[in-house]
């Protein structure tokens, strides 16, 4: 087996099944009475947390690839992003069904009125076009440049997701701030990569001027 085949046939299926483990554990705990006395709240929290985790994993792929030079890792970016969307969808469905019981009036009232719901909903909605354009054929049809531009929306989703978490906790902001710190590193890396060559360019002509003619 070549390395590409090994990734395709072994590593990817293992990664796929691993990404389903949090859902499996949640179901198993639920069926065995190991969730808390408020299992619906547990389901909401777990699916929300795993949405954020998969967003962070997705955003970590490109920095890891650049730093380690291991290009094979890029093959997991789409899968991870789609799992973020998967857990985000479960999270949103839990809200629609168990929290609001599909009461459209109540939902329409709730989304704009509660800032933490507004940003959470925004984060989810912004993931939809990304999930919808995740297939190779669509990416090809769109063209790499346009596709990449569209998929920068993931930054907005991640920021909105972390703010959603921060705004919903009652007092203990440590867990959401942990996510904020991780996100700051992941986005900070990108800013650095973007800014560094431009700074170098700025410095270059300055040095030239200093040289005697």
């Amino acid at each position: 087996m070549t390395q590409a085949q090994w990734i395709q046939r072994v590593v990817k299926p293992v990664a796929f099944l691993s990404a389903l483990v949090p859902l499996g554990l949640l179901l198993w705990r639920g069926l065995n009475g190991e969730l808390s006395a408020n299992p619906i709240s547990d389901i909401t929290n777990e699916t929300g947390t795993w949405t954020l985790r998969f967003l962070m994993i997705t955003l970590a792929v490109t920095p890891l690839r650049r730093i380690t030079g291991w290009s094979g890792i890029a093959r997991f970016r789409r899968m991870s992003g789609l799992f973020a969307f998967f857990y985000g969808s479960l999270h949103f469905m839990t809200y629609l069904y168990l929290d609001q019981f599909f009461d459209i009036n109540s939902i329409l009232h709730d989304i704009p009125k509660r800032p933490f719901i507004t940003v959470g909903f925004t984060a989810f909605v912004l993931m939809i076009p990304l999930a919808a354009t995740s297939m190779d054929r669509i990416a090809k049809w769109m063209g790499g440049k346009r596709w990449r531009r569209l998929h920068r929306l993931v930054y907005a989703t991640a920021i909105a997701g972390v703010i959603h978490y921060l705004w919903l906790v009652k007092a203990d902001t440590r867990p959401p701030l942990t996510y904020a710190a991780i996100l700051a590193v992941l986005l900070g890396y990108r800013i650095w990569v973007y800014v560094r060559p431009r700074l170098a360019q700025l410095r270059l002509p300055a040095r030239k001027e200093a040289e005697p003619a």
Partner: protein, 314 residues
């Protein structure tokens, strides 16, 4: 008042028998349709041999709603002194020693004293009260508390005319209470009531639940229960009760004054700035239910707030 006053339950609140049975029919059908199955899957502990409170001799202030299980009441708690997760209080309160215990009563009273817990409780007749408990986070339980009216103690220590409010304080023991090692809130936890709220017959000093002594996670050995207010007003593990002239500071109000008021009466019309208070999830139930004004105790307590703007004094 030994005889049940019919004012306490409006006849409109009593479900007609035929409707009651048709609801049962509906529930049966719904369970076949799946909701019941899902409920059973989510709440298996409610079915298999969990301790339930025996019903049948409800008193004047008791709700006849289904009581939550002992397990629910003792494993799903907010008690930040032991950690901020709901499971933290039951998991991390093992080192806490609720005995020996003293409670200091001071301030504007003729008989200030430091009581040993046993001496504080002994003079009073303990009773079981089945109250609704509504958390500010939007969930609720029905709990059979055991305690005595705070009014009994107030009468005994003889407050002076200067006593307009009562301030309560929780024990500060970071060695035994891991949550206190981090300043999530300002420790020790403090709470307060206006004097008329404190002497209201619904207001209890609680030393037990489910007919047993309070467990550490529920505020052992002695705590306050004010059923028409959000749960955090029910300060736990009390070491000090002070009678004061000015409105005392309260912990959640110090933390976020625009989110938690001094009164913190359960009120579906006044939302928390970040979430709605119109509905609540009763622990053990699948769907949310409507939150009632003053947590369903409006007939008993609404007069305390007559003429007050409850949006301003939230």
């Amino acid at each position: 008042m030994l005889i049940k006053n019919h004012d306490d339950i409006r006849s409109s609140e009593i479900t007609p028998e035929n409707l009651y049975y048709s609801r049962r029919e509906f529930m049966r059908a719904a369970s076949v349709a799946g909701i019941g199955l899902a409920t059973e899957a989510l709440f298996p502990h409610r079915l298999v041999g969990q301790e339930r409170w025996p019903r049948g001799k409800e008193g004047l202030y008791d709700t006849d709603e289904e009581v939550n299980t002992f397990k629910e009441i003792t494993t799903y708690n907010n008690f930040y002194e032991f950690g901020t997760d709901k499971s933290d209080p039951s998991e991390y309160s093992g080192d806490f020693k609720p005995r020996p215990w003293t409670v200091k009563v001071d301030g504007a009273v003729r008989k200030p004293a430091v009581y040993h817990l046993e001496d504080l409780v002994k003079p009073f007749k303990l009773e079981d009260r089945i109250y609704r408990m509504r958390c500010v986070e939007g969930w609720s339980m029905v709990i059979p508390w055991r305690g005595f009216p705070l009014a009994d103690l107030i009468r005994k220590v003889e407050p002076t005319s200067k006593a307009k409010f009562i301030a309560f304080e929780t024990v500060y023991r970071p060695a035994e209470m891991p949550g206190q090692r981090r300043s999530v809130l300002q420790w020790p936890y403090v709470e307060g009531l206006r004097m008329d709220e404190a002497i209201h017959p619904l207001t209890l000093l609680v030393v037990g639940l489910y007919g047993k002594e309070l467990l550490n996670q529920n505020g052992a050995p002695i705590r306050l229960v004010v059923p028409w207010k959000y749960g955090f007003k029910g300060i736990k593990s009390i070491v000090k009760i002070s009678f004061v002239e000015q409105q005392p500071p309260t912990s959640w109000n110090i933390y976020a004054p625009n989110e938690y008021g001094f009164y913190s009466n359960v009120n579906p019309e006044v939302d928390h700035p970040r979430w709605s208070q119109k509905t609540e999830r009763r622990i053990g139930e699948f769907f949310k239910r409507k939150t009632l004004m003053f947590n369903g105790y409006a007939d008993q307590v609404a007069h305390l707030y007559a003429g007050m703007d409850l949006r301003k004094y939230f």
